[in-house]
């Protein structure tokens, strides 16, 4: 379950030099290399947008937009680690723009999006849905902080870097958001949390 924390390409399963080589090939115009990058990072980008917007269809739009921007800016990407950081930043910006632009109800709910291929008990699924709905009810900034902290397992400084805000702001906002979530979750899923 534990993943590498954004210091390496994707989930820390591949070797650094190969990633650099793929990046170089993509920057030189090799579309198969770019497709490899998309496949490597699609779940990170899609999940960030999906949990933030709570709408799978809009999340896919945002994820596509993030990869298109990456394609336009490939020559500015310095390393695989920079690529991951860059994608998170762009996804955050695109998602916040989208949420400001369209404040309508989700057309395809988050729950309709494909679940990971992991066996889960019915109770767990219900709990997960409740947690995601509560996260989605947070204001935009704390919402993204929670997602970056628990989906991407980023440190406070890394979250601050992605969102372009001071670390202390991240610390206080995240603590407040977690306090709210903890209270709500304890009320709703008291037995699970116990």
């Amino acid at each position: 379950m534990k993943r590498a924390r954004g210091k390496v390409w994707g989930r820390g399963v591949s070797d650094g030099s190969r990633e650099g080589e793929v990046l170089e090939r993509a920057a030189a115009g090799d579309s198969s290399a770019f497709e490899e990058i998309v496949r490597e990072h699609q779940s990170m980008v899609f999940s960030l947008a999906c949990y933030f917007l709570h709408d799978a269809a809009r999340a896919e739009e945002i994820a596509q937009e993030a990869f298109l921007r990456l394609f336009q800016n490939l020559d500015r990407i310095e390393s695989p680690a920079h690529l991951v950081q860059w994608l998170r930043k762009v996804t955050w910006r695109c998602a916040i723009d989208e949420s400001r632009k369209n404040s309508h109800q989700p057309s395809v709910s988050l729950e309709d999006a494909p679940e990971p291929a992991v066996e889960q008990k019915g109770g767990d699924l219900l709990a997960d849905r409740s947690v995601r709905a509560m996260v989605a009810s947070l204001p935009p900034r704390p919402r993204m902080m929670v997602i970056l902290r628990y989906q991407e397992e980023l440190e406070l400084a890394e979250i601050a870097k992605v969102m372009g805000i001071p670390v202390n702001t991240v610390k206080s906002s995240l603590n407040r958001a977690l306090g709210v979530l903890r209270n709500k979750l304890t009320r709703v899923l008291g037995d699970v949390m116990a």
């Binding site: 998309v38 779940s43 899609f46 949990y51 298109l68 989906q151």
Partner: protein, 150 residues
Amino acid sequence: MKPFEDELHRALRRRDPPPGFASRVMARVEQQAAAKARFAWLWRLRTRLWSWGGEGSWKRSAALATAAAMLVLAVSVVAWRQHRLREEQRQGELARAQVMEALHVTSIKLHRVRTRVRNATKDGGQGSSEGRSSRAKPEAALDLASPILD
């Protein structure tokens, strides 16, 4: 790790996008690449301008300021030339109208003079005595002068 944080980790784990996501992204990328190829020269100019001298350099700022100034100057010159052309046309039309008016007035006056001269000649030819014709002359002269004096 606390159960609360475990729950958050589990609920917010990464999930895969709908099937065919990468292909859809690549299709959009291809589309964009084709569009980019059509405007490659503009893209190259933009990139060259943007990268010239590095981000925030005085060279780029100066180049952009010069380009903007030249654009403003060119637009001003074109606008001024058009204004001057319109002004010349307007003055030409005004002069033409004045000339036409003067010619019209002159033609009327000439017509009147000719009519009076003809009348005076007719009157002079019909008179029998010299005294009468000598009396008629000043009146004819007055008649001749009147249209011009009007």
